[in-house]
């Protein structure tokens, strides 16, 4: 168990190093920091002097090493636009984004498991065919289009739903305000969450369906039937756990990917999260903020994947053995 943990942790660190290297390399290629700091009217000598002072003439790896050192102390540079530490700017926006991702995750898990199972065990029913047809449409329509269509129908035409912002939120702790404690907050988060889940949800339904159908063909399910086990128990005890094991692994990666999809969703719904912030930062060439965003998102990605792997190890009995051997 301990060896497995250490191994998993080392992997996570390696991935974070790679991400930081890439982010840092991008920083060097996005505009000239001196122009941001000094403006146009400074002489060439002063510029050179400042370059030397800031260490911008040092070899790439030396600069990267310095960047890494301050990053480890939580210093990811200062946003040109906000004139605040980039990490702080992002952390303020983080709760809004995470609540959105959470909402979408709940929708995905809550619907994909029952629908995936249903379409697997009743593949020929009319309802299953309808679900599969709709899921194809869901996968093929881009997130921003789903979002715009929803705004058009439910906000503009019908006037049922608010179309932008977070609405009324309740302060919890630090920079965390939540949508989930007021009716208005719920009304505001529903459409963005649906939009954000609109590609993952159909993908998960199809994934669970395919896995479940394969498991239902397995010898151990046939043996369970030969033992006289009732269908309900076969579906939910014998088949479901085996179905969800591979889904957990894919799911972890996808939740990470969803953080990236928030850029589009947040922009369309003017959701004040770090996704829309990132797009603004790109427009303003706010390099430190862009780099900090990449590192934070990479970090979230690595953490969710590690947690998912650990959960997988806990629920899958065959992994335990490998772990003890490790």
């Amino acid at each position: 168990m301990f060896a497995y943990l250490v191994k998993r942790l080392l992997q996570a660190i390696a991935v974070m190093l790679a991400i930081s290297l890439i982010a840092f390399a991008i920083q060097g290629n996005l505009g000239d920091p001196l122009r941001e700091l000094l403006g146009q009217s400074v002489s060439e000598e002063v510029r050179q002097q400042l370059r030397e002072d800031l260490g911008l003439n040092d070899p790439f790896l030396v600069q990267y090493w310095r960047f890494l050192g301050s990053a480890l102390q939580g210093d990811l540079g200062t946003s040109y636009f906000f004139k605040e530490p980039a990490l702080e700017v992002i952390l303020k926006k983080l709760p809004a984004t995470m609540e959105l991702v959470f909402g979408a995750t709940i929708i995905i898990i809550g619907l994909s498991v029952p629908l995936g199972i249903y379409t697997a065990i009743r593949p020929n029913s009319i309802l299953s065919r309808a679900i599969m047809a709709i899921s194809i449409i869901g996968i093929s329509i881009p997130v921003f289009l789903t979002a715009i269509l929803m705004i058009y129908f439910f906000s503009v035409e019908l006037g049922w739903m608010p179309s932008f912002g977070r609405g009324e939120t309740v302060h919890i702790i630090g920079s965390w305000d939540t949508n989930f404690l007021t009716v208005d907050g719920w009304a505001h988060i529903i459409m963005p969450s649906i939009a954000l889940s609109s590609i993952m949800l159909p993908m998960f339904i199809r994934l669970i369906r395919a896995e479940m159908m394969e498991v239902m063909q397995s010898e151990y399910v046939r043996f369970a039937r030969a033992k006289g086990i009732a269908p309900g128990r076969i579906y939910f005890v014998h088949a479901l756990k085996n179905t969800l094991l591979p889904v957990i692994t894919v799911g972890g990666v996808q939740i990470g990917t969803m953080v990236a999809y928030t850029i589009l969703t947040e922009t369309v719904f003017s959701w004040p999260g770090m996704g829309s912030m990132f797009l603004e930062a790109v427009n303003r060439v706010d390099t430190p903020l862009i780099v900090a965003y990449l590192i934070v998102v990479g970090f979230i990605f690595v953490v969710t994947n590690t947690i998912v792997d650990l959960i997988y190890g806990l629920v899958n009995p065959t992994v335990k053995l490998a772990r003890m051997g490790a």
């Binding site: 046939r222 043996f223 039937r225 030969a226 033992k227 086990i229 005890v237 085996n242 009995p317």
Partner: protein, 331 residues
Amino acid sequence: MTLLSVRDLTVKFGTRGTPVTALHGISFDVARGERVGVVGESGAGKSITGFALMNLLSRPGYIDSGEILFEGKDVTKMSDREIRRLRGNRMAMIFQDPMVTLNPVLTIGQQMIETLRAHRRLSYDDARQISLVKLKEVYIPSPEARLDQYPHELSGGMRQRIVIAIALLLDPQLIIADEPTTALDVTIQADIMELLLEMCRSNMVGLMLITHDLGVVSQVTERTLVMYAGRIIESGKTRAIINDPQHPYTQGLINALPQQTPPGTRLRQIPGSMPTLSTMPPGCPFNPRCELATDVCRARMPEITQFGEVQVACHEVKRLHAELAELEGAQ
């Protein structure tokens, strides 16, 4: 007393268009406590027969016609609930590969206890106790610990013993064992087969043993069915079939045994291969490979006829017996 009586059982596979026939109206009986071997080349329909008895054919296979009378009731006419009460309870099955028979995410205990509780009103603890007793009966070392282990923690031989224990849990009347040792290490095949035989003998359980191995059939079973291309072409007392096979196919099978071949010479395989379901020749399905085949064989399927202790479906055997009878009559 008859336990199982199969009459004209026809199984088809309903692929797109016209369905193909996998079992052509086979008939046979199993008496209480009787051990019957089912032999034949790969694809002869042995497994299909076994699964059909429990109505466990996987799609697109289905029972087209015929009767399966088990303890006097027709399995083919039972409701799902009735047949579920039969499975694992009155009729149990042992599969070929113990590595994939047990569910990888459930403990041995869970898989045994659920079987008991599917058929009997038992508390969890009582069911666990019965499971423990059965594990001891099949000589599982430290059975208490095994109950909480997962299948992957056990060897193939151990797993097959557990599958046998599961099959025996509810004291069934019939066990259908589909090549129960083929997937195991050769060194333990004999042990497992011996265990199965011992269990069936001591509990008076009927056994349908599906196998390729005629040696095993002669040691374990009292009666044998020889299958070819979805038909039973010869059946009768195992001793009679092994010592005096009638059908040219059965003779071919027995001649191909290593014991029948002098050391240093090639095994005498039957030339050619069995027709597939979609390339079935007219007449007797064995005729393209049969040295004795005549025009009648190529035109008409022979009916099953009783000759002494065995039943054979072969035109030539029938003709020979008729000639023999004529000679005797003339004397």
